[in-house]
Amino acid sequence: MNAHLVRTAAEGRRHGPRARLRATARSEWVKLWSVRSAPAVLGATAVVIVLGALVLCSGYRSGWASMSASERAAFDPASTSLRGIEPAQLFVGALGVLAVTGEYGTGLIRTTLAATPQRAQVLVVKGLVLGAVVWAVTTASSFGAFALGQHLLTGPVPHAELEDPGVLRAVLGGGLYLTLIALFGTALGALSRSTPLGLAALFGVLLVLPLMVGLLPSGLADGILPYLPGEAGSQVWHVMPPSPHSLGPWQGFSLFALDVVVSAGAVLTLTRKRDV
C-alpha cells in the first residue's frame, strides 16, 4: 500500500500537457520499433524507390534512340528517377493503415486508451511519429534515387541537376508526398478500424479511383483527374507537369494536404463519441 502512496522521483516527469505529449510520443515510438513490420516495410519502401530509378533510368538510356521528338521534349529526368514513389506509396500507405487497425484488430487499442484516455492526442501523435519516420526514410531514399538515376542518364539523354529550377523541390517533394500518404493511411485506418476496409479505402482512392475516372469521356476525365488525391499530391515531385491539365506542384500538394486534414478532422470528431 505504501508503495503507491510514496511520491516517486518519476512524479516530476509527469507535470503539464507537454509531459503528457512527450509520454505519448515515447510510447508510440516504442510501439513502432518493437514489431518487425515497420522496419521491414520502411526498408522495402527505400529499396523500391531506389530500384525504380535504376530500372527506369537505364531503360530510358537504352530506349532513347527510338523515342519520338515529342516524347523527348516531354522527358522529365528528375521525376523519372523518382517514379519508384508510385509503388512505394502503397507500402507507406498500408503502414499507416496498419499502425491503427493493428491495434483495433487485437484489442490492444483498449489498453492504449486506458493508459492514455486523451484519444485525439493518441491518434495525432501516432500519425506524427509514423509521419516523421516515413519522412526521414523517404526523403533520404528520394535523394538516393535521384543521384543514382541522374548518374545512369548519360550521353544523349538529358539529366537534371539539383540546382536546376524545380528539381530540389521535386526531390524533397518525394518525401513530403509519401509522408502525407502515410498520414492519409493512418486516418483511413482510424476511420475504418479494420485492416481490410482501411486498405480497400486506401487502394481505392489511390489506384481504383483514377482508373474509373479514366473511363469517363475524356473532357470529363480531364476535369476531374487532376483533383484526385494521388494525382494532385504527385505534382510536387514532378518538374514538368505530366499533363496540360495538371495542377501546379504546390497547388496540388495543398489540395492533397487538405484531403488529409479533412479525413483527420473526421477521425477526431468521431473518435470522441465512439466506443472502443
Binding site: 509527469r14 503528457r20 516504442v30 518493437s34 514489431v35 486506458a114 484516455p117
Partner: protein, 303 residues
Amino acid sequence: MIEARGLTKRYGRQTAVSGLDFRVEPGRVTGFLGPNGAGKSTTMRMILGLDLPSSGSVTVNGRRYRGMVWPLHEIGALLDARAVHPGRSAYNHLHSLAAANGIPRDRVDVVLEQVGLAAVARKRVGGFSLGMSQRLGIAGALLGDPGILLFDEPVNGLDPDGILWIRTLMRSLAAEGRTVLVSSHLMSETALTADHLLVIGEGRLLADMPLDELIARDATDRVEVRAVDHHRLAGELRTLGGEVTLRPDGTLLVVGVESAAIGELAAARGHVLHQLRDVTSSLEEAYFRLTEGSVVYRAPVPA
C-alpha cells in the same frame, strides 16, 4: 474507490447494462459475478472510459476516467489477455505502456519478475500460452502500482497453479489496502476469493452484499419432509412459523423449522413420516436462484 450511479449502456435496441448503482470499496476483493452476457465486461469498459454510458455515470476516485492524465498510477486493468500485438515482446509491450504514463523503466522488470515472466521477457507474446498472456496482462495492470485493480475473468483458461496464484495475488493486493474488482461467471471461483459480491444478471444489479451475508441469507438450511398426510402436516408447520412449500411429488420443503422440531411435532400429532432430511443448499444454488429468478436482494447501502 469506484462509484457507479444509474450506469446504463444500450447497444442499439439491446440494453447491456441497466441502472447500476454500486461502490467498490478499498481493502477487500469485490467479486463481480454474473452469467455470460450479464454486462460485466461492458461495465468494466465504461469504468475505463472506453465505452460511453448511454446514461448515468461511473467515477474512479471521484473523477471520470476520460479526464485522468496519468491513469495507470491510480487504476490498472486486465480486460482481455489476448489484446496484445503478437509480434511484440513482453518487455516491449510493458515498456510502451510504462512510457505512456511516465513510469520508470525499471518497473517493467519488477512486474515481470512479480508475475513470473522474467525468463521470457524478450520472447514474442504471440507464442505465449493463455496462462502466460494472463500473467502479462496482470503485469500491465500492476505496472503503475495503482490503488485500484480491475480484472475481467482473470482465471479463464488457467491451470490450477495459475488459478491459485491469481487468487493469492488478489487477496494480497486487497490486504495491502487496494480496491480490487474481479469479474467471474463462476460462483465457486468467486467464493474462494471475494469478500464482497456484486451480482448482476441481464444488466441489472441483483445483489450487493458481503459474501458471508449471501451465505447466511440464501444458503440457509431447509428440511425436506415426506409425510403420508402432507396437507395436515404443512398446516401444522405453518402455525409453528415455518415457511412451507409443497412440491408436486408431495414432498414438503420447510424453512424456519429445524428437523428435530419437525420430528417432535410429527410424533406428537401422530404423523407417519417417510423421510426427514436436512438439505443444505450450496452457494452455487443461491447464485443460480439469484440470477435465474432475477429476484432483487439488496444489502442496505452504507451511508
